[in-house]
Point group: C2
Chain length 232, copies 2
């Protein structure tokens, strides 16, 4: 990889997901020694207001202010591209892009690309994400463009997704894993591909080996896009 | 925890160890939601020259220059304390301390405290670390001060430690785990407590459950010290 350029990570949303991103980035980078790895600066500010609640309550500007603070920290250090290991945060991607000259590596684009290349024959996709990610239709046009039909989750399934995410954020991983397994059993036959479109979800899904084949892990997809960027 | 203050992490030495530190920090922080976590800025610069080789070849200033660059990034963002999840890097702690007003949370002090409080009856300690950490006697005076006698590793054991570390840095974790297990079998009876005095070693030791009771994980000790700092 090109070691001259530094990857910025606008993180902390949530902290476990950012740590998972960093861990997966290190594991996926071809490296024989420390010096072969990608230089990173992670601004992990968990004080940024809850993204889903802000979109529900119309307080988006509070979230944006928090993210802009992290963005300015990354600008001050001097990074060459920025990744955000949080799906819902991509609702603000246009605002962030217009606030800086540093390019963003979109988790949404990376995940749709991964869904398409890893599952060439698939024609339907189920999106498991926060209520805000789903209702903002963050993925819909990109997925349709590459030939996926979008299968909606039921209200009950959305409640279960929210519960899994809350448990990961609270650090209660055993509960998160068991809730994820029940959810997966209920929704797995609905589509060819299941997008874990919230970066907390892979942390609850890792133990469930039987569900892996259909999964698109959006954290891993972002990692792959970052490594591709570093190799350019 | 006090959310106003930001923890700086001078990391990348190596990247897997820094990711492990971040993961353990998130897991060990009492939190029900993102906003309960400690704000962190991680400068993970794996380009910093190899610490052990520099100490062997008398090129310490090259390492210091790399660490100072990361330190200045942390200063520019504005952090309130700095942790370095690398044992060998603490050979340069005095130089770093004199270059900034930001306090450091010493991994060495944290680990010796952990060794003492977690093993109140123990009287001997074996230090598994890089050749540089061992020959610099980073731990010796602190350990003696709290009543530990230091048991030396043999040359052959030191070679095995180096091999485990290299394998973690190269991402070959299965080899690292198997090498660690052989090493542990050969040295585990030599002392009451075994310090994993290189932050790569816990990544090779996690699978070896039977060896856990004697272990002081220096990454986890640093995490605990950082959480205590955040609670102040």
């Amino acid at each position: 990889v090109a070691r001259e350029r530094v990857l910025g990570v606008l993180g902390g949303m949530g902290p476990a997901a950012t740590a998972d991103f960093y861990t997966k980035l290190v594991k996926a980078t071809p490296a024989l020694q420390d010096q072969d790895h990608i230089p990173v600066v992670v601004v992990g500010d968990p004080r940024i207001a809850d993204r889903s609640r802000a979109l529900e309550s119309g307080t988006e500007s509070v979230v944006l202010a928090g993210m802009l603070r992290s963005l300015h920290h990354l600008e001050r250090v001097g990074v060459d591209a920025i990744a955000i290991p949080c799906n819902t945060a991509h609702c603000w991607l246009r605002d962030l892009t217009s606030a800086t000259d540093i390019p963003f590596i979109s988790l949404i684009e990376a995940s749709v690309r991964e869904a398409r290349t890893a599952h060439p024959g698939a024609s339907t996709a189920l999106i498991l994400g926060t209520r805000a990610t789903v209702s903002s239709r963050l993925y819909d046009s990109e997925l349709r463009r590459v030939g996926f039909g979008i299968v909606p989750v039921t209200d009950e399934q959305q409640d279960a997704v929210d519960a899994v995410i809350s448990n990961v954020k609270a650090g209660t991983f055993a509960a998160a894993e068991s809730l994820f397994e029940s959810l997966a059993k209920s929704c797995w036959n609905q589509a060819d591909v299941v997008l874990l479109a919230c970066t907390e979800l892979p942390l609850a899904a890792a133990a469930a080996a039987q569900f892996q084949p259909k999964i698109v892990d959006t954290t891993a997809a972002l990692v792959n896009a970052c490594i591709a960027w570093a190799k350019q």
